[in-house]
């Protein structure tokens, strides 16, 4: 139906239309999430038959329209300081109930308040940029329309999530983004690992969703039973809770808070439910950028910010939130140090930064957490898109040990990547510094735990962990930049890798790779890159990925030299440069994988520099040489291709659409791609200034903007016209010493510590990887091999889950299945067997006894009649004779009868009665 008709339909059905002061019609507000959904429907039904430009135009167009409306809404809210309410009617309303849970009323209501404004701006703007980026990135993708349909659907659901006015509608969005995440992660589902990664994301999310549901329902029931307010609307809940703040038991608030937070850990990838995010890198890079950096993973933070009035009631829950956040930050940061896939590093970085956000909201600094969410969206999206650009330019290569020297080849990518990574590291005056520093300061100075056992020291501990994680972040980001762009290029014309053998303990893929075939080049029948069509490609790779290269070391200890792989070109048509084998043997190697070690002629995959290990840590670009060990290490293969479900799917990026490119060397990405990079990098620089704290002379506009939401008032938030807090000092903040005039000197100290941590990390990484070309790291890894292995294996969390959760569940499944088969089916079959036996018995009786009787009677009659029949001779004389005899007999009887008395008397006389 046409748009206008749809609009009029909506207007017909709107009973309770609430207009904000700016007279925004609810239809317009509903357009924001519904336009992308319309785009989804369009793409699904029509778009698949349309040419790609039209598909791209429609998809980007709907998001652009939503973006435009979002800006309008933002301006409106900014002008009126009132949230915009768009209510088009009741959703759940059961008549006839005045009390009890059936009296709940849920409405089709979207609320755009200040927090929502932030979120929708982020979603629509960054989403739009990523849509545009995708048109370039996925240009060769066969399922173009479907990709964009999923992307649009995701956008729609995310918008619903952040604009929802009640728990149920938010949950619709919550689940919807989970669905879209699954669809998009497993977009190239032909490879089993990608599908498995998608499933993993969905299932892990589900675990969190269960806890979320429990928490939400508990709150709902409690509020209803206690205060007879049966509602799931956020505003009503806020009013009830704030009014009866003291009547709510802390235990309940703690329970609900922790349950909701567990849901957030699932969605936002915190410990222990973070395991899906690294595997989600199997999806296309724009997906990673949008969903797993900017938007979906922030839903958890948004949810806690939205329900801040609940969390403030329970210091315990907040302690849990912030503790888990801090733990996640340092945990993921430490893993990120030892990863070799560019996207994996960014994934763990995302997890770590999400931990920061939770740290922020956990200590009550909701605005700080959301601000970090805001800034993180920019630079993380920029980093991901940049990595996509790198992968695109490298023709699918994702292993940073095979990169290097891209600065001159991809300058735009390099500079935007550098800016974003500096922002992420927290270098002032880029955006990340302000947001991260705000969180750290709030953690240090929080008073939320006053009165509990955590008072005083907990915040400091959180600060310490956060600072350490920030240093880690700076470290691994610098490492990433160096290895990717600044190092000596490790790609080039293919030469054989004749380096030393990978130590066996790092060489798990050697055995797995033994069966691999050479990747096909070109595009396969599905439009997918040829190498993706071969399922054999990509075995397990993970173990090698994050190995600090200890090749030589190990080799000395254990291994004899493996035979050098024969020198062969890496590809048929894609002659990716490979490290010359001569180089490989000399340098101290940092990366050890099965890279190039196996003399298998089969394994090839474009974009893999064959053997890397020995060269990787080379920073001197002069030693560029190609090597094309034909035996492309399984390591490379694994890096580039999705291998095990644990590290599922990430090589696809490298394969997408590049089948047709003639790769001679890494090249810059097209305009559609670097445009987004530039915009996002600019954002990374500029948006930080929205949240400059007062200590530095800024007005912290961001926090003021969010204060109507983050401040817990008992009054109606809509009426509470919060003045634009530019410079308004008395925003009843929870930071006493922040606003105003007396700034805690500690703040400056901590600020300096943060800067120092950032620069320290950068400098340290520069020293190790730049100056010393990774030798210290390699030596460290050799010395502490178990530690290295542990970190490289991501602390073996996936294996733990596999053993502790997955395997018992599968065993249970097996057991119940067997029970069903043997016991239940046995009983049924047994009953059938008994029935058959009984039937056989009755049949036997029927046959033998009954039939025997019947037949016996017939036989008896036959026997008798055979004798009797002989009386019929046809001889009349005989008949007459017997008639006479019979007649005589009758006469005799008659005579006897007639003379019976005398006869009887005679008999009596004879026998002497």
């Amino acid at each position: 139906m046409s748009l206008s008709a749809f609009v009029s339909v909506l207007q017909e059905h709107g009973d309770n239309v609430a207009h904000a002061a700016g007279s925004i019609s609810p239809t317009l507000v509903w357009m924001v999430p519904l336009l992308p959904v319309f785009g989804f429907v369009f793409q699904i039904f029509i778009g698949q038959k349309l040419p790609k430009p039209i598909v791209a135009f429609v998809s980007c167009g709907v998001v652009a329209a939503s973006c435009l409306i979002a800006w309008i809404l933002f301006l409106n809210v900014r002008a009126s300081h009132q949230p915009i309410v768009a209510d088009i009617g009741p959703w759940i309303q059961i008549p006839g109930f005045k009390d009890g849970w059936l009296s709940v009323i849920a409405r089709h209501k979207l609320v755009v308040d200040q927090l929502t404004c932030v979120m929708i701006l982020v979603i629509t703007n960054i989403g739009f940029l990523i849509h545009v980026y995708s048109t370039g990135y996925m240009a060769d993708e066969k399922r173009f329309a479907r990709y964009f349909s999923y992307l649009n659907l995701f956008t729609g659901f995310m918008l619903i999530l952040v604009m929802a006015s009640n728990v149920l509608l938010m949950f619709v969005g919550w689940e919807g983004v989970g669905l879209c995440s699954y669809l998009l992660i497993g977009f190239w589902f032909e490879k089993k690992e990608n599908a498995a990664a998608g499933m993993k994301a969905f299932v892990v999310n589900r675990v969190g969703d269960l806890a979320f549901t429990i928490g939400a329902l508990t709150l709902f029931v409690f509020l209803g039973r206690q205060f007879h307010v049966w509602t799931i609307d956020f505003e009503e809940m806020k009013q009830v809770i704030l009014t009866h703040k003291d009547a709510i038991p802390v235990g309940l608030a703690t329970f609900v808070g922790i349950m909701l937070f567990i849901g957030a850990t699932g969605k936002s990838a915190q410990v222990p439910l973070y395991v899906w995010l690294p595997d989600a890198m199997a999806g296309p890079t724009p997906v990673s950028a949008l969903i797993h950096a900017a938007t979906m993973v922030t839903a958890g933070v948004y949810m806690i910010a939205r329900l801040n009035f609940l969390f403030t009631l329970s210091p315990t829950a907040m302690a849990v939130v912030t503790g888990i956040g801090a733990l996640t930050a340092i945990f993921a940061g430490s893993i990120g140090v030892a990863q070799n896939d560019i996207k994996k590093v960014l994934a763990y970085s995302t997890v770590s930064q999400l931990g920061f956000m939770f740290m922020g909201v956990g200590v009550g600094a909701y605005a700080a957490g959301v601000f970090h969410l805001f800034t993180h969206a920019f630079f993380k999206a920029c980093l991901f898109l940049g990595s996509g650009s790198v992968i695109h330019g490298m023709g699918g290569e994702q292993d940073i040990r095979k990169m290097g020297g891209l600065k001159s080849k991809m300058p735009i990518t390099f500079w935007t990547f550098l800016i974003a990574s500096l922002a992420l590291s927290g270098v002032p005056p880029l955006a990340g510094f302000f947001s991260k520093d705000e969180i750290l300061w709030q953690a240090w100075s929080t008073d939320k735990f006053a009165g509990t056992a955590l008072a005083g020291w907990y915040g400091k501990l959180i600060w310490l962990v956060g600072a350490t994680a920030a240093a880690c972040t700076a470290f691994y980001m610098t490492r990433l930049v160096i290895k990717t762009f600044l190092d000596r290029p490790k790609w080039g014309t293919a030469t054989a890798f004749s380096g030393g053998g990978l130590p066996d303990w790092m060489d798990e893929e050697k055995k797995k790779e033994s069966k691999k075939e050479p990747p096909k080049s070109g595009t396969g029948p599905d439009g997918m890159p040829a190498w993706m069509e071969d399922d054999a490609i990509g075995g397990d790779l993970p173990q090698d990925e994050s190995m600090l290269d200890l090749g030589n070391v190990r080799k000395k200890k254990k291994d004899p030299e493996p035979p050098p792989p024969p020198p062969k070109p890496a590809h048929d048509d894609e002659s990716h440069p490979a490290i010359p084998s001569s180089l490989l043997q000399d340098e101290s190697l940092l990366d050890l994988g099965a890279v190039g070690r196996k003399p298998k002629a089969s394994h090839e995959d474009h974009g893999h520099a064959s053997d890397l290990p020995h060269d990787e840590s080379m920073l001197d670009l002069g030693k560029v040489g190609g090597h094309g060990a034909p035996s492309h290490d399984a390591h490379d293969a694994h890096d580039a291709h999705a291998a095990t479900p644990h590290d599922a799917g990430h090589g696809h990026d490298s394969g997408h659409g590049h089948g047709g490119h003639g790769h001679g060397e890494p090249h810059e990405s097209p305009f559609s791609m670097w445009l987004a990079l530039v915009v996002l990098a600019a954002g990374s620089i500029l948006v930080g200034f929205l949240g400059v704290p007062a200590a530095l002379g800024g007005s912290n506009r961001f926090e003021h903007w969010l204060s109507p939401v983050t401040e817990a008032h008992a009054s109606h938030g809509a009426e509470h016209a919060e003045k634009p807090a530019h410079g308004e000092p008395a925003a009843h903040g929870s930071e006493p010493a922040k606003e105003g005039h007396a700034h805690n000197p500690m703040e400056y100290v901590l600020m300096l510590v943060s800067i120092g941590a950032a620069f320290g990390g950068i400098g340290f990484a520069w020293y190790i990887y730049g100056k010393r070309q990774g030798v210290p790291a390699q030596e460290f890894a050799e010395k502490h091999r178990e530690l290295y292995e542990l970190v490289h294996d991501k602390y073996r969390v996936d294996e733990l889950y596999e053993a502790a959760v997955v395997t018992p569940l599968l065993n249970l499944n097996e057991g119940t299945c067997r029970f069903d088969n043997e016991v239940v089916d046995g009983a049924v079959n047994g009953a059938a067997w008994v029935g058959k036996k009984v039937a056989g018995g009755t049949g036997l009786v029927d046959n033998e006894v009954v039939d025997a009787a019947v037949n016996g009677a017939a036989v008896a009659i036959q026997i008798v009649s055979r004798r009797v029949r002989r009386a019929q001779t046809g001889n009349i004389k005989e008949y007459l004779t017997f008639a006479l005899v019979g007649g005589l007999f009758v006469i005799a009887l008659f005579c006897l009868y007639l003379t019976r008395e005398p006869l009887l008397a005679k008999i009596r006389e004879l026998f002497g009665s």
Partner: protein, 281 residues
Amino acid sequence: MEASDIVLNVIFYVLAAAAIAGAVAVAVSKNIVRSAFALLAVLFSAAALYAVMKADFIAAAQVLIYVGGILVLIIFAVMLTHRITDVKLSNESTPGPAAFCACLCLLFSLVVVILFTARWQRESDEVVVRSGGNEVFLRQYQGDGSTGLAFGGAAFEGSVVLGVRVDRPNGDVKYVTFTAVSGKEKPKTVVIPFQLGVTKGALSDLAEGDWHWSAVLSGADGEVAKAESPAARDFTVNRGITKTVARALAGPYLLAFEVVSVLLLAALVGAAFLARKEVRE
């Protein structure tokens, strides 16, 4: 025994012998023509026996119909159903023991019944008449004096025996005088000395017709009692049965007679049809 009785007996035995011999010959003879002619002898003997029993009409009917019709028919059939050459041994019999024994048993039982069990004699009915203060019982017998003659019944061949029984006569009774009166004839009388029990007196040569009789008991003192048989037609004397049979046929047996004549017609038509010569192709 009178001579007529002896002659009658002899005739009877001869005829009986002839009948029996003929019957046995029919049963046994191997030549069918001989058995046919033995049958002839039997039929004639039967007719003679009818005559002996003074059933003259039946004797005549027997001869006419049986001998003249049926036997001729049989002989025709014999002739028609045998080839001449076969006639000699044309009447085989298959005497089985069953048949022979059965017949013997039959004969034996009949004989026993006839001789030892049946009472053919029937005592006469008594009619009581009061006269002179006496109860007088009147009886009448057939000519043999022992077979009762029913009142209104027919006397056998003009002789009848009348009987009187008085148990306690009033006076002295010496003689009984039986007087039989018929309409046209003169009365016949017989005087019998009285005896206790039944006093019987025979009258013979009575003419045909209905007779009424009475008995007078008299003694020294004269007539003691006089008893009249109840009504006229006490007994009827018939010489020959033709009239009787004719009256019966035209009377009670009229319907039967007519039916039999129709039956005869139907039988003859059916016989003619049954014996028709089939047209053979």
